[in-house]
């Protein structure tokens, strides 16, 4: 069965000059879509990517990445909206670059679509109620 996983990859600075993504894509013949990437010399790199392939192969690819010292985190588990804390003010809506946070036109309530979230963390810093929580 082909599945897609949205993941956050963190590359230690020692790996920055290596073509890790190119290698993993070719080696395991995966489909990919890079959502966000920040890779600078001498610094830890961060990439948010969708990887698609057979579940088993995908798992081996993750294992291979881990062996290379790349930290992997599933993105859908990352940002959670705490509905008890949210007052639906909407300050996060203006901060969200992907419209993962949006206002429902009928109720004016703030809704969150985790599928669109790229975990930029702007909402986490911007929410005065601490309603946007980072889950590891």
């Amino acid at each position: 069965m082909i599945i897609s996983q949205r993941i956050v990859l963190r590359f230690p600075s020692a790996l920055i000059d290596q073509p890790i993504i190119s290698e993993v894509i070719k080696k395991f013949q995966l489909d990919f879509n890079i959502l966000q990437a920040q890779i600078l010399p001498q610094q830890e790199g961060l990439m948010i990517i969708v990887l698609s392939g057979e579940e088993k192969i995908l798992r081996s690819a993750f294992a291979w990445l881990k062996k290379k010292n790349v930290k992997i985190q599933l993105l859908t588990q990352k940002i959670v909206k705490n509905e008890t804390k949210c007052t639906h003010c909407g300050v996060c809506v203006g901060l969200c670059p992907t419209k993962a946070l949006f206002t429902d036109s009928a109720t004016s309530k703030v809704l969150f679509d985790p599928e669109k979230c790229i975990a930029c963390l702007f909402c986490v810093k911007g929410c005065m109620m601490h309603a946007m929580e980072v889950k590891f």
């Binding site: 300050v91 809506v93 901060l95 702007f122 005065m128």
Partner: protein, 405 residues
């Protein structure tokens, strides 16, 4: 055809008053015109729920044995310092107080996870609050140190007293610099990355009574889920700002000082807020009933959000340096649409004031008026309005610059 507030109260008592929310009233006036709307509608309810920094409580704990005089000493409530110079067992706590061990902005931007506003929220929610007192001790008040826990129902008085709430209109904050800034208007992304506003728009109490005709000293209001009163004009009350032809201010203008019994309030409408890099504030829920005494009241309540304008201000340089520059004026209808266009750029908007909670407040207030549980009041005295000659003063620091101070 004018109605008195007493006539409206008679209708409320007999269950015949027609009460609508400010949002509904805009539609009614659009369809019927203000003359018919004034005849048909008796009361319009408003609502607002947003951060209002100038909020506080004062408490009287009752006396312990042996007695202690907190006045002149120090007092912590859940680790947040309270103001003690009132008397033996009275203290005051402002919403923006930060916990005594809070690192502030030393590691910028600070998180300000717990402060005065959160103590107020916890107290109203019925939680136990840790009380730590140190005092110097006297013959009549010998106790010098005391640590205990208390909850709202165990103390004598708990009063919410907010010197400046309910701002009539407010700035739209943007950032023209090249780096993100952390303000009381929220996180502002660089290069006009977002625009934050803070008003309930057409539901906002003082935008529905723009000339303070029925809202004045003594007005009974919905406050924090309970009942409160307007006790004075708020600090920085500034009625003489530019206005639209309809009479609505286009700058931050009037404010209200409000007070009410904390014991009847709810933590749903008093919520502690943390502004990253800025500090703590209290989100306060307020609803003010507007008696429709004549066509003019109906006209004011019918002004749509397309005609309610707010000033766009740069918070990276102009605001911190007290430069009064306004970059543009935009309507609340535009702000609500999700973006404004300024300088050829489409800027996403975010609101600090919650429209769903404002709506809920206006509906709760409307229901209690319909049921006869909430009667309207005539102001004991008016608050200063157009023609009062008030102008906002600034703090001059000449002496310090000259080295005198």
């Amino acid at each position: 055809m004018a109605k008195t507030i007493e006539e409206i109260n008679d209708k409320i008592r007999s269950g015949k008053a027609v009460v609508v929310t400010a949002e509904e009233m805009v539609d009614i006036v659009r369809r019927k015109g203000e003359e018919k709307a004034a005849r048909d509608i008796d009361v319009v309810t408003t609502g607002t729920f947003g951060p209002m920094c100038s909020s506080s409580i004062y408490l009287n704990f009752g006396h312990p044995s042996p007695r202690i005089k907190i006045g002149g000493g120090s007092c912590l409530l859940n680790g947040v310092p309270a103001y003690t110079a009132l008397a033996a067992v009275d203290v005051a706590l402002g919403a923006t107080a930060v916990a005594s061990l809070d690192p502030g902005n030393t590691s910028f931007p600070g998180e300000f996870r717990y402060g005065g506003a959160h103590v107020i929220e916890d107290l109203v929610a019925g939680k136990k609050i840790k009380l730590e007192i140190s005092a110097y001790g006297t013959d009549c008040y010998p106790n010098k140190k005391l640590t205990t826990f208390f909850s709202l129902d165990q103390i004598n008085e708990a009063v919410l007293f907010n010197p400046r709430n309910c701002y009539q209109n407010y700035n739209v904050a943007v950032n023209r610099s090249k780096k993100a800034i952390y303000t009381y208007m929220g996180v502002l992304k660089p290069s006009l990355g977002n625009a934050n506003y803070c008003s309930a728009g057409m539901l906002s109490p003082l935008l529905r009574d723009p000339e303070y005709r029925t809202t004045g000293i003594g007005t009974r209001i919905f406050l924090g889920g309970g009942t409160g009163y307007v006790v004075f004009q708020g600090t920085q009350h500034n009625p003489e700002v530019p206005r639209t032809p309809e009479g609505v201010p286009v700058r931050p203008a009037g404010t209200l000082a409000v007070l009410g019994d904390l014991k009847g309030m709810s933590s749903e409408f008093l919520r502690g807020a943390s502004f990253t890099g800025y500090g703590v504030s209290l989100c306060v829920g307020i609803g003010i009933p507007i008696p429709i005494i004549d066509e003019k009241s109906a006209f004011h309540c019918g002004i749509p959000e397309e005609k309610l304008m707010a000033p766009v201000v740069d918070y990276s340089s102009d605001y911190p340096n007290r430069n009064p520059k306004v970059l543009a004026e935009v309507s609340y209808a535009q702000l609500r649409s999700g973006s404004i266009t300024f300088g050829g750029k489409k800027i996403p908007t975010g609101s600090l004031s919650s429209l769903p909670v404002a709506r809920k407040i206006a509906m709760i207030l409307a229901d209690s008026i319909r049921k006869g549980d909430f009667l309207l009041t005539s102001p004991v005295a008016q608050i200063p309005g157009i023609g009062s000659g008030i102008s906002l003063k600034s703090l001059e620091t000449k002496g310090i610059e000259d080295g005198v101070a």
